[in-house]
């Protein structure tokens, strides 16, 4: 059991996502930064499918009932206990002692994993919160969350990973709707420096910058994936993220590779986002490298 002493602005339980109900119109949800989330689980010895917390608006304080490994990951985060513990480093949490996830100016989506994982009851096959539909809820001070049996001994404290950098640009595969964009429009898109808008949320990162020109209006509504860079008629692109709708009708100029979704999500309003082209082989290699990195420490 962990008990929450300070809830942050919005803390939710997330697991890798709810994939079995996409055809019912239910988004996958899951972590905004899948690599930081997976790393958090791996660092405390959890299965990658275990549930952990996603926290926006630090600090977030908690106390564990029994001995656990804990870790904070994400952008610009650390853990404060009796001593300060760097982010991305597993620490031993003493029973009854208060720990706080703290963030610097760059903090956006922070993850807190606890060995054993959070075992609150799943809804529709997943523990991932999806607040717009009342699946799960934002955690509150006083909430107590059940934990599973820890797979590793707390002596494993100290295992760490280097936090990934945000990257000068995020890698994308052009398309799938390249027939809706002239060559010049595609070239301009890859040259542009976009700025992240304040209206960005768990559905997607909204961008301001030189308008992207699509032709032929909307497309016939079809299924869509996280990372899709949609171009609505106004020309301001939206990168779809964890809580995105299951279907979409705007043309998609490019798709952010799975390994770089967190690099989109972790950018703060006002920060610059550029897109780079890669092919499918490089996208797969990046995903494989991430998974191997996590498998090596898990």
């Amino acid at each position: 059991m962990i008990r929450i002493l300070a809830s942050g602005a919005r803390a939710t339980i997330q697991d890798p996502g709810r994939f079995a109900h996409l055809r019912d119109g239910i988004p996958t949800s899951g972590p905004m930064d899948p690599f930081a989330f997976g790393a958090a689980n791996a660092l405390v010895g959890n299965a990658l499918a275990a549930a952990a917390l996603e926290i926006v608006g630090l600090p977030f304080s908690f106390v564990c009932e029994d001995r656990r490994l804990v870790v904070a990951t994400g952008r610009d985060v650390a853990l404060r206990g009796r001593d300060d513990i760097a982010g991305w480093t597993a620490a031993f949490a003493r029973p009854g002692e208060t720990y706080t996830v703290i963030g610097g100016a760059g903090a956006r989506f922070a993850y807190l994993a606890i060995s054993g994982g959070i075992t609150a009851p799943p809804v529709l096959g997943s523990r991932a919160a999806y607040l717009p539909a009342g699946i799960g809820r934002a955690l509150r001070v006083g909430d107590a969350l059940p934990l599973g049996t820890a797979r590793v001994d707390p002596d494993r404290a100290g295992v760490s990973l280097a936090p990934p950098d945000l990257g000068a640009s995020v890698r994308t595969i052009p398309g799938p709707h390249l027939d809706r964009f002239d060559e010049d429009a595609v070239a301009a898109f890859f040259d542009a420096a976009f700025r992240v808008e304040a209206a960005s949320d768990r559905m997607g990162t909204r961008l301001a910058g030189p308008p992207v020109t699509a032709k032929g209006g909307e497309i016939l509504t079809s299924g869509i994936v996280a990372g899709a860079v949609q171009v609505p008629s106004g020309g301001a692109p939206i990168v779809l993220l964890a809580d995105h709708q299951t279907t979409g009708g705007y043309p998609v100029i490019a798709t952010v590779i799975a390994a770089d979704l967190g690099r989109v999500a972790q950018r703060l309003p006002g920060e610059v986002l550029r897109f780079a082209r890669v092919d499918r082989e490089r996208a797969l290699a990046a995903l494989r490298a991430d998974r191997e990195l996590l498998a090596a420490i898990a």
């Binding site: 109900h21 055809r23 119109g25 539909a133 509504t221 079809s222 299924g223 709708q245 299951t246 494989r288």
Partner: protein, 175 residues
């Protein structure tokens, strides 16, 4: 079929199906080959009568009068046109439990609102282009609101969580 063969999750829409898979477990070239094989062997859905879902509807939506007049109909005529036919649920999307149903009587086909509403109440019965649907949750929305129902189209505590599924027949009952 994609799901039956445990290749991943499939998301159908009007004229497409999104096939998801783990590219580290199934190489993209193999996934493409499997998709092609399944597409070539696909047959039409088995015969039989799909389920009928009835939606008791009060026709008093804020866009009812305007939508009727732009169609050159009286309000009662629009109600008869909307409630007088059976629709097919083509697929779900936009939000949990939102079924895209159609097609409308051509006389009441109408574009989306120029300015979408910031909040459409759950249970709103709406039309846009040749489609009709029910908002399962409070949300922003640009469809024309012609009525409302108390029927809950989405309930995460229910199994299945959605009332209308792809392929169902849907009828609105005026009251």
């Amino acid at each position: 079929m994609w799901e039956a063969e445990r290749l991943g999750v499939a998301v159908p829409a009007y004229a497409s199906v999104l096939l998801r898979f783990d590219p580290l477990a199934l190489a993209p070239a193999d996934a493409e080959r499997e998709a092609m094989r399944l597409a070539l062997s696909a047959r039409a859905a088995p015969a039989g009568t799909p389920r009928l879902v009835e939606i008791p509807t009060t026709y008093d939506g804020p866009d009812l009068a305007d939508t009727a007049s732009r169609s050159g109909l009286s309000v009662p005529e629009l109600v008869v046109a909307h409630a007088g036919r059976e629709y097919r649920a083509f697929f779900l999307g936009f939000m949990p439990g939102f079924a895209y149903c159609g097609t409308l009587d051509v006389r009441i086909v109408a574009p989306r609102l120029e300015r979408p509403r910031e909040r459409v109440p759950a249970g709103s019965v709406a039309i846009a282009d040749a489609q009709t649907g029910i908002y399962p949750l409070d949300s922003p929305g640009g469809w024309r609101l012609i009525g409302r129902t108390e029927v809950r189209c989405f309930d995460p505590e229910r199994d299945p969580p959605v009332l209308i599924r792809a392929g169902d027949r849907v009828r609105f009952l005026a009251r």
